[in-house]
Symmetry: C2
Subunit: 203 residues, 2 copies
DNA sequence: GTACAGTTTAACCAAATGGTTAACGCAAAG
DNA sequence: CTTTGCGTTAACCATTTGGTTAAACTGTAC
């Protein structure tokens, strides 16, 4: 029985993730989720009381995984630049596995900001990771240049995340420019981001 | 009468834009749009036959405005680098005015890619703008370095567009890092993008 | 004023939606 | 064998949804 529970709950979460990622909280349909999980609609409400509750679980899971990628920042055995390089690999591999993740998170935040503020606060206190403080620290130690940390963090995440967000656009635009685009393992992308970081943080 | 028509139609399009940008095609509600336009719901169907048709109009308008920003590329009186700098100013000013634009376009594309492919083809043939070909041209003339144009275009758009997409995230993260962020006129952002471009395209 | 066109509305409809209920199945416990 | 309790389902419900209809309104041309 226990195994059956887990299976059903997992199947629901899986189907819910797919649906919510694609259509968002309002756009996703409970019937769709039930169908894709291969179960009755009433079971959704048996396991998760309401659409909102189900959504919350999916969203929190996504956000949490996203934040997990930042654990490298706490690895004090590495110099700051190395940690950032590792983070770039992590985050790009992660987004490559869940390409709709950024979209999903951003989309839902734009609909309901309040919810997000609370959850970020929770997760950050939990994991205690701050790239910005890390940069300031590196600057004090003289390991990196004196750029504006906030602008840098923004640029860095832009370079990593946007290609996955906008991949449908790029596919269309590039194919219509008679160019083509292949980047197995996202190595070109990783290299170009690291190149940028090295350039910006060089003393 | 003519003016009244225009007014109503305009009010509807305005309200529809707001609703669709925030909730997407499926999430947006016709009643909401009617309310916000200050009219009866039936009028929506009088002016635009269906929800899809109304959405199409909004989406095409958005996409078209987006593409208009690329007209600088065709200004042969300027060297390639100058055109790109101007484009950066244009696109950032534009996104600053319509911060939900990228989100909206990307969101809907991820739901229905087919539709997008056709519309991009239409608009591009119409305006005939290709940054990638421009870069190749500049490389042949020896004006810019020999970077991979596709990677460069991706990086460039990442740096410009993502900050607006992710601004809710940044606000939350930055405020919880005891940092703060002000960038009137987006001048810091523009400067950092241009800095990146200059670095990448320098021979 | 009357006829006529385009514009606007209230009332309505069928379908879809999130959610509930009561009953059934079925394994484990007594 | 019966009871108990969780997992599951079909049938159902109230509300919301996009969409329609027929009548009312409004300004213009005759």
């Amino acid at each position: 029985m226990q195994s059956k529970d887990k299976n059903t709950e997992q199947k629901i979460l899986e189907a819910a993730k797919t649906a919510f990622m694609k259509y968002g909280l309002y756009g996703a349909r409970m019937q769709d989720i039930a169908d894709n999980a291969g179960i009755n609609k009433a079971l959704l409400h048996y396991y998760f009381r309401s659409k909102e509750k189900l959504f919350d679980q999916v969203f929190e899971g996504a956000l949490s995984k996203y934040f997990e990628q930042m654990l490298v920042f706490s690895d004090t055995s590495l110099p700051v630049l190395e940690r950032i390089f590792k983070y770039i690999d992590n985050i790009i591999d992660f987004l490559s596995e869940y390409p709709q993740m950024s979209m999903f998170i951003i989309k839902e935040i734009s609909v309901d900001q309040e919810m997000f503020y609370e959850k970020v606060k929770m997760l950050k206190e939990d994991k205690g990771i701050h790239l910005i403080s890390l940069l300031k620290e590196g600057q004090e130690k003289g390991e990196i240049s004196n750029i504006d940390p906030v602008v840098f963090v923004m640029n860095l995440h832009s370079l990593c995340a946007y290609p996955f967000l906008a991949s449908p656009i790029f596919k269309a635009i590039i194919s219509s420019s008679a160019s083509h685009w292949e980047d197995p393992g996202n190595n070109k992308l990783k290299a170009s981001v690291k190149d940028f970081v090295a350039f910006r943080l060089a003393k």
